[in-house]
Symmetry: C2
Subunit: 131 residues, 2 copies
DNA sequence: CTAAAACCTCACGTTGACGTGAGGGTCAAG
DNA sequence: CTTGACCCTCACGTCAACGTGAGGTTTTAG
């Protein structure tokens, strides 16, 4: 399939796909005239990239995980990197869960002592800021 | 305390503190000569900012949460924003947990069919990439 | 055969959270 | 009263993951 179709099916922009290629994440075939052609599986691969990007991984990290993604045989080194990234992500999730609880504390605190103000309440934009 | 001490105690750069001020997150007092002075509590506040930034919140979002952080009375609108951010974060954590499991799948798959290669194994940098 | 749609390669623009000097005041120590 | 450690305000640089034309070729529909 050509780049436009892949973009639509994977839910990314054409520019993004060219960028991924630039980063070494994709290596599409080319027609004699130079147009890129991708295999069917690439749709899912690109979706996975999106997940990884959303999780905060960089192009470099994703590139490092590629051999594992592509059904290729993997070296011990590659599997170690895979685990390293996993641990990094795991740590981030823990951190964010912590922050989430922190936010919950703030919420209950605000609800508890919060103003009697309702949705349509008058002005009370007390914007006191930490010194 | 002055900016250098705050920076060290909160674990951020001096530049970052000035930046936070630029973004409306901090409003330190000034000595007659113009130097910033912060209260003790600011150390913890800045650490909280770091947590929020690490969780992917923007300066704008953090600024929106400020009234709730500063012990100030909060309006219903502010509390709604607080909950909105909480939900956003919660969604992101869920997403990342998903991605984490995806990575775990990749790991077990790689371990299972992975090469018999050991740490000091020979060359096998099969870098096949999705077409 | 032609015109629109899709593709190509540069290559500069954008956004956020700072980094990094430039050039110049301020403050505790000796 | 000077020196060095900090502080100040501009203001440009950085990095990642794309966005956005410019200018030109190729493919496809009628």
């Amino acid at each position: 399939m050509k780049i436009g179709e892949l973009a639509q099916r994977a839910g990314v922009s054409v520019r993004a796909l060219r960028y991924y290629e630039e980063q070494g994440l994709l290596s599409p075939e080319r027609t004699p005239s130079g147009q890129r052609t991708y295999g069917e599986g690439t749709v899912e691969v690109v979706r996975l990239f999106q997940q990884f990007y959303a999780a905060g991984l960089s192009s470099r990290s994703i590139a490092a995980l590629l051999p594992c993604v592509n059904n290729g045989r993997t070296t011990a080194t590659q599997r170690r990197m895979l685990r390293t990234e996993r641990d990094r992500l795991s740590d981030r999730v823990e951190e964010m869960t912590h922050t989430l609880h922190r936010l919950d504390q703030l919420i209950t605190a605000a609800d508890h002592r919060g103003g009697t103000t309702l949705s349509h309440a008058p002005m009370d934009e007390t914007t006191t800021v930490a010194s």
